[in-house]
Amino acid sequence: MRIADTFARLRTEGRPGLVTYTTAGDPDLPRSAEILKALDRAGADVLEVGVPFSDPLADGPVIQRATERALAAGGSLRASLSLVEQVRPHVAAPIVVFSYANPILRMGVDAFAARAAAAGVDGVLALDLPIEEAGDFRATLKAAGLDTIFLLSPTTTDARIRKASELGSGFLYGISRLGVTGARDSVASGAEALVRRIRAHTSMPIALGFGISRPEHVAEVGAYADAAVVGSALVSKIAESSVSSDLIDRVVEYVRWLKGAGRPEGRPLHV
């Protein structure tokens, strides 16, 4: 119950959490492992490990490119679970596997749940497996001790918010804006309203993502959500630093900057 414990601790400490997304195998599997350890060291509260998939239709260009790099470097669902298994002893933060449905269905939901649990995964978010399609999936994950995390969007009706909070566990992931993943200059205007709408139905922790790229965004979101998710901006940082020998230092520095401690070197991120 690492996820529940983490959010309980965040609430006790009265601070918002930082959830990071990176693609497993980007820029390659060994450095992907180092990045996950570095994110944990730098203070990320939850690590989302993205499974590369050939057809990432909910992702913008930054994560599409990361996916292509990861697939070229041997990334896959199996490799992602091995990666989690490898870093788990060195990482305190909960780990959430973020995947499209097909790799999981191809492995088989039972086999996936068993392997994910054995690897030390804490929760699973399947991007194109909405509540209506996730019945058996959720039950199997639950039996294996894994949280099923559902996404909620500005288009989600109140009835479905209630259903997601009944069926989901760990936390709920609010999508701050319509569209695909990608860093933006500001937090979406409807983000706070979405979080308040979700709060009206559940006491489950809420992480808010899509478009968050700067410490001011993290702080702004932290005022009403339990955590902010940073994905594309971090993936861009990794992409632009991947040829450099101090990739890991830059990732650490970037996460500390997001958390409001110090400035990263170089130009500000615009994606």
Binding site: F53, S54, D55, P56, L57, A58, G60, Q64, L71, S76, L77, R78, A101, N102, P103, I104, L105, R106, M107, L127, D128, L129, P130, E132, E133, F150, L151, L152, S153, P154, T155, T156, T157, R160, I175, L178, G179, V180
Partner: protein
């Protein structure tokens, strides 16, 4: 045409009496609604809007008026003479969807959905296209109804279907080049879905085949089912009986479903879908999902998919852009599972031969997609013998393909002269 044929109910749902998927959009174990959260509510709203117009006589009257006066329906059924003679067996009839306005069956669905979009108050249309026929049909429907049209098309397809790209632009559509992935139809669908999820409040996604999340496979089938309704009446009149076999090419499978639908309950009629065999059935060099695929989820639906052991979608190849796609419509997967339809494949070379044969023997240039069906129909005709009847859905005309065919024939000649 007469009123809708009534079919036995497959699964009881309150809103429908026809042979429909269940309430969650499943044909047996295929179909469903595997979409990102943001699209769940829009897809449900689309389903509600569609079910409303489906039973609205005014909507049907408007669509039928366009079918008759704008599209040129009913399209004829034509009995070949020299083709049948060359095949050496059964009588071969062609359902001439190539004679529709814009030259392919795609216009039936594009008009239906564009009318629905107008009803829903959506003025901005996005569509994907492979061969360009659905893109042209969408651009045409949007021009007719005064809607804004954006067509996503893979870069490779834009190169091999340059004529259709120009046609779409002439019709006022914005053609968006997609450089991701395999740069073909699959990637165009990804990009169209990304556009839709971003602009969902004012945008309608006009999907071109019996693919994607429910209700698309149902809705597109219903708009295309005019093909089979007409053809069934026409063949009864011309031949005095139902055909022994119906042959149609299957990319996503909308022309095939549109033809098969009226014959589903005619159990003696063999329904044969023809997939693209490409070079031959080796990984990455074909698009025959039933020959090399397995059950999986792609772009909103659970169906037969060409995928690797990690669940990544494999590259596909076909000489015809419209069949060059890694998944097949879920209703086809179901019809195959229950044994009601059978599926075969024809290679690039076989399609090329049929293209030339039909041109020379009947004076008809078929689309390369449809040429796959013609090729297989010749085989079936021979097997059936002189007493048999084969009905082929000639889904589109081949003008768009003449450059591709010229290149392929040059390459063949070069190879033979070595």
């Amino acid at each position: 045409m007469g009123p809708h044929a009534k079919y036995k109910t497959m699964t009881a749902t309150p809103s429908v009496t026809r042979r429909d998927p269940d309430a969650r959009g499943y044909f047996g174990e295929f179909g469903g609604r595997y979409v990102p959260e943001t699209l769940v509510e829009p897809v449900e709203a689309l389903e509600r809007a569609y079910l409303e117009v489906r039973d609205d006589p005014a909507f049907a009257a408007e669509l039928n008026r366009l079918f008759k006066h704008y599209v040129g329906r009913p399209t004829p059924v034509y009995e070949t003479s020299r083709l049948a003679e060359a095949a050496g067996g059964a009588r071969i009839f062609l359902k001439r969807e190539d004679l529709t306005h814009t030259g392919a069956h795609k216009i039936n669905n594009a008009l239906g959905q564009a009318l629905l979009a107008s009803r829903m108050g959506k003025r901005r249309i996005v569509a994907e296209t492979g061969a360009g026929q659905h893109g042209v049909a969408s651009a045409t429907a949007c021009a007719l109804l005064g809607l804004e049209c954006h067509v996503y098309m893979g870069a490779e397809d834009m190169d091999r279907q340059a004529l259709n790209v120009f046609r779409m632009r002439l019709l006022g559509a914005d053609v968006c080049r997609v450089d991701a992935g395999s740069r073909t139809l699959k990637d165009a669908i990804n990009e169209a879905m990304r556009d839709w999820v971003t602009n969902v409040s004012d945008t309608y996604y006009l999907l071109g085949s019996v693919l994607g999340p429910h209700p698309y496979p149902l809705m597109v089938r219903e708009f295309q089912s005019v093909i089979g309704r007409e053809a069934r009446a026409q063949i009864l009149e011309l031949a005095g009986r139902l055909p022994d076999a119906i042959v149609a090419c299957v990319g996503g499978g909308s022309n095939a479903i549109g033809m098969f639908d009226a014959f589903i309950d005619d159990k003696a009629v063999r329904l044969i879908g023809v997939e693209a065999g490409g070079d031959r059935i080796i990984r990455g060099r074909h698009a025959a999902r039933f020959a090399g695929g397995s059950a999986g989820v792609l772009q909103g639906t659970r169906t037969f998919v060409l995928q690797d052991e990690d669940g990544n979608i494999e590259l596909t190849h076909s000489i015809s852009a419209g069949l060059d796609y890694a998944a097949v419509g879920p209703e086809h997967a179901w019809l195959r599972a229950i044994g009601r339809a059978e599926y075969a494949h024809v290679t690039d070379a076989g399609a090329l031969d049929a293209f030339q044969t039909l041109a020379r023997l009947e004076g008809i240039l078929p689309a390369l997609e449809s040429a796959h069906a013609v090729a297989y129909a010749q085989r079936v005709a021979k097997e059936l013998g002189p007493s048999g009847i084969v009905l082929v859905n000639l889904s589109g005309r081949g003008d768009k393909d003449v450059n591709t065919v010229e290149k392929a024939l040059d390459a063949r000649q070069a190879a033979e002269s070595l």
